[in-house]
Amino acid sequence: MAKQRIVSTSINGNPVEFLAAPRQTLLEVLRDNLDLIGTKEGCSNGNCGACTVIFNGRPVDSCLVLAVEAEGGELETIEGVALTDGLHVIQDAFLGQAALQCGICTPGFIMSTKALLEENASPSEDEIRFHLAGNLCRCTGYDKIVRAVQQAAEGVTN
C-alpha cells in the first residue's frame, strides 16, 4: 500500500491537516475522514456536480481531485457558506424559489452559484445555464434553480 501522507490545507478559512492515501479522492476525504458530509457524491465521474467544492478560487468536482493535490491549497465547501447569524443569500434564494426537492444536488449547485457570482455578479439567464451545465438535478427541474440564482444575484448586487 502506498504510504499515507499529511496534507496541509485551509478549509473554509481554517487550517486543516489530514492524512490521505494517494488513491483517495478529495470527495472521499472530505466525507469519510473529515466528516464534512455536506458535499455529496452522485456519479463519482465528473458528470453530476453534486461534489462541487471551490478549490483555490475555482469550482471543481471533488470526485476528480486527489486529496493529496490539496496540499497547500484553499478549499471552500458547503459547510462554510452560511454566515454565523443566518443563511447566505444564495441559500435563502434556493429556499425562496423552492429550488430543491430531495436536496442531494443542492450543495453542488450552491457552490457553483457562489463561484459564478464571485466572477460575474449579474449573469444573464444564458450565462447561468451554461455555468451550471456541470450540475445535474434529478427532481426539481432547472427553471426554479435558475430563478434562485437570479434572485441570489439581485441579493448579491443590492
Binding site: M1, A2, R5, A21, P22, R23, Q24, T25, S44, N45, G46, N47, G49, T52, F55, R58, P59, V60, D61, C63, L64, V65, L66, V68, E69, E71, S112, A115, L116, D126, R129, F130, H131, L132, A133, G134, N135
Partner: protein, 298 residues
C-alpha cells in the same frame, strides 16, 4: 480506487526521471478529468501518478510576436479567460469553452485532451487547424511533432515511454486571419462530439480571397483528422459559396466515421460537410472583424 504512489515534481527533469524510472507503470496527471476516471474504472492501472501541474514549463501561457506558447497543463478556463488569446486563437478558446462544464474547465488541460488521444477530443482539431506543434521531453531530450501527427489511434499517440508533452506552440496569426471550432451534439452542452470541425483561415488584405486554410475534424476517424484537401480547395480562391462548398465536399469525402449510438456513418458524413461550411464562414467573419452570430449550443 486502486492503490498507487503519487509524486508532484517541481521540475521537468525530475518529472522525466520519475516517468522514465517507471515507464510502463507511471502516468502523468494534469487536470485528472480523464485520468482519475480511467484509474477508477481500471482502464488504466498505473503504479505511480506523476502530477505535472507544479512544473513551471507546463504552466506557460504566453502570447508574443512569434505566436502562442501553451503549457501542456494549463487548464481550459485560463485560455478562454485571456481576451487577447481568445481573440487571436479563437478556435482553441471555442474548444476550451465546451470541454465539459465549468468544474471540468477549471482543471482540464489541452495537453491532457491531446494525450488522452480520443478521436472526439474537442481541442485537437483546433490545434491542427492553427498549425500547432507539440513539444515533447523525455529521457532522450526534446523533440517536436506537428499536432496532426501526434495521435496514432484511439487512445494512442507518438509518446514513447518516459516522455511527456511540455507545451504546444502555435505560429503567429496572419494579419487577416480567423479561426473557429464547433461540434454537433444532441444537447446544448456536456456531451461527446458526434462530429467536430476546426478551421483556421488566412485572407488577403481586402478580406475577399483565401490565402490559405487548414481544416481538421473530430469523431469521424480513429484519430483527429487533418483534411489537407479541404484547405487546398480554399487556398487562392475568392471567398465564395462555391469554394466553401468544395472544401465541405473534401471534408465529407475524407471522413471515415463509424456507426454508433451517437450517429450513423451517413449522418456523420453529412454533418462533416455542414459543419465545415459553417465553421469556415465563421472563421471568415472573424478574420474580417464582422459581428458573428455564433454562440455555444447552436
Amino acid at each position: 480506487m486502486r492503490d498507487f504512489e503519487y509524486e508532484a515534481p517541481m521540475s521537468l527533469d525530475d518529472a522525466v526521471a520519475l516517468l522514465s524510472g517507471n515507464p510502463a507503470a507511471a502516468k502523468p496527471l494534469a487536470g485528472g478529468t480523464d485520468l482519475i476516471d480511467h484509474i477508477r474504472t481500471r482502464r488504466l492501472e498505473p503504479d505511480l501518478v506523476v502530477d505535472v501541474k507544479k512544473i513551471p514549463d507546463l504552466n506557460v501561457l504566453e502570447l508574443g510576436d512569434d505566436g502562442l506558447r501553451l503549457g501542456a497543463a494549463v487548464p481550459c478556463y485560463r485560455i478562454y479567460g485571456d481576451p487577447q488569446i481568445a481573440a487571436a486563437y479563437s478556435a482553441v478558446a471555442d474548444s476550451c469553452r465546451i470541454i465539459g462544464g465549468t468544474q471540468i474547465q477549471s482543471r482540464a488541460s489541452v495537453g491532457g485532451n491531446l494525450c488522452n488521444s480520443g478521436p472526439a477530443a474537442d481541442s485537437t482539431p483546433s490545434l491542427i487547424a492553427l498549425a500547432a506543434r507539440v513539444v515533447i521531453a523525455g529521457p532522450g531530450g526534446r523533440r517536436e511533432v506537428a499536432a496532426e501527427d501526434f495521435c496514432t489511434g484511439p487512445g494512442q499517440n507518438v509518446l514513447e515511454s518516459g516522455e511527456l508533452v511540455v507545451e504546444i506552440v502555435f505560429p503567429a496569426r496572419p494579419a487577416v486571419g480567423g479561426s473557429h471550432y464547433r461540434r454537433f451534439i444532441p444537447r446544448n452542452e456536456m456531451d461527446i462530439a458526434v462530429v467536430g470541425v476546426g478551421a483556421a483561415v488566412e485572407l488577403d488584405e481586402s478580406g475577399q480571397s483565401f490565402v490559405s486554410a487548414r481544416i481538421a475534424l473530430a469523431a469521424v476517424a480513429p484519430t483527429p483528422l487533418y483534411v489537407e484537401a479541404a484547405g487546398a480547395a480554399l487556398a487562392g480562391q475568392p471567398v465564395s459559396d462555391e469554394a466553401i462548398a468544395a472544401a465541405a465536399a473534401a471534408a465529407r469525402e475524407a471522413a471515415t466515421p463509424i456507426d454508433d449510438m451517437r450517429g450513423t456513418v451517413e449522418f456523420r458524413k453529412h454533418i462533416s460537410g455542414v459543419l465545415t461550411e459553417r465553421v469556415i464562414r465563421e472563421a471568415v467573419a472573424r478574420a474580417r472583424g464582422e459581428e458573428t452570430g455564433y454562440r455555444i449550443g447552436q
